[in-house]
Amino acid sequence: MKTLIISLVLLLELILQGTFFQFMNIAGFYPDLVLITIVIIGIFHDKEYSWRFGLIAGLLTDIIYGRVLGFHGLLYLTVIVVVSILASNVFKESIVAPLLLFPIGSLVKNTMYYMITYLLKENIPIGEYLASFGIYYWVINMIALFAVFFLMLRYKKYWVVSN
């Protein structure tokens, strides 16, 4: 049941990113809710449980928006496994954990994104790509990170599986 709830939340966030945030954004920047949620799930669960959500979120992204099946699946699976491993010894209910791990998750996702698109011969100018991670990106995502983290913490019983 908890797996289903998290999957539906990820699906809803994905729809919001492809619809709502295409109109409601600041200079084209909007929160990467799926990545934020993936990072928080990775913090609260061990890697043996959390990996499936990276895979689900990634495959849903590929099916709904992507051209290449498995592309985002690989990105989000790697992010959530890395975050789960790094978060295994941190105090999970402190905001410090997602504040430290979101930048790592973002770095892993976007580095892999750039590398795979490069290997697929879809050259994105590196300067242009780096420019999309300016101050707006971090401010907006950090605000969203606070909001999503405390919201998920409040409703922890509905989605955190006790080990």
Binding site: Q22, Y65, R67, G70, E122
Partner: protein
């Protein structure tokens, strides 16, 4: 056996990653049809996406209207200036009308396109990673949509269908960098190799002998097979000579503002 048990998680993740990489390899060149589970997910998500998309657009438009109220005075002044400019431009009107008539007769554009059969569709969502380069429409194989069908608007070419599910399809806009096709200049009949560029523009390449120049209209040539023939692609903004290269670079303004469309027509 003990080793496998100890490293079960690592082995499982490696296996999944291998399968995902295989999936990437198999689908990186595009596919004609999606699988049934993918089709079900796409079709299931499409109605909700559509509701959220149009609600968000409505809220966005309303919000823009409210916030623009305070700037009405300055906008009014700007519009008056614009009106003044238009009055000056009006003197060229007759010349342009004549030119327009000539172009229309040259193309017989409307007559030729009356033969096409269309499927109308609406955008339900946009790829969050690449913006309007790829968007999803609410028409799929159930409506007769097939891969590589040409997507247009009255103004001109929008893109082509790259993937079809039961109730939805993905459209690759002509402004995407992966979009490559051939065009032909109406006035000079020069062939132009066109691809997408940044900022929703197109860039084309022509021989150095080509007589194409700014203001020329470019149509689809029908040679590449992906697009129907004689659909307006856009207007040439500038032609640049490239040092040390055997081709000239042509910057083209697409006839369709891809980032502002809501509904599209698919040519059967």
């Amino acid at each position: 056996m003990k080793w496998m048990k100890e490293h079960r998680f690592g082995l499982m993740i490696t296996l999944i990653m291998f399968m995902l990489v295989t999936g990437i390899g198999m689908t990186s060149q595009g596919r004609d049809r999606t699988t049934l589970p993918e089709s079900l997910v796409s079709s299931g998500v499409s109605p909700l996406s559509r509701v959220v998309y149009y609600s968000s657009q409505y809220i966005h438009n309303f919000y823009s209207f409210v916030t623009e109220l305070s700037t009405l005075k300055s906008r009014n002044e700007a519009l008056e200036q614009e009106l003044h400019d238009y009055k000056i431009k009006l003197t060229d009107y007759d010349k342009l009308t004549q030119e327009n008539k000539e172009l229309k007769s040259l193309l017989s554009f409307m007559d030729e396109h009356a033969n096409f059969e269309y499927i109308s569709g609406s955008i339900v969502s946009i790829d969050p990673d690449s913006g309007f380069s790829i968007f999803v429409i609410n028409r799929g194989s159930n409506d007769g949509v097939q891969v590589n069908m040409t997507v247009v608007l009255k103004e001109g070419l929008v893109g082509r269908i790259t993937e079809v599910s039961g109730g939805t399809s993905k459209v690759l806009a002509i402004t995407d960098q992966n979009s490559m096709f051939n065009g032909v200049c109406v006035r000079t009949r020069d062939y132009v190799r066109i691809t997408g560029d940044d900022n929703y523009k197109l860039k084309g390449y022509v021989d150095t002998e080509a007589k194409i120049e700014a203001g020329d209209i470019v149509l689809t040539s029908g040679l590449s097979g992906a697009f129907k023939k004689d659909i307006v692609i856009g207007e040439v903004l500038e032609v640049k000579k490239q040092q040390g290269k055997l081709e000239k670079l042509v910057v083209i303004e697409p006839a369709v503002e891809v980032e502002k469309i809501n509904n599209v027509l698919i040519i059967k």
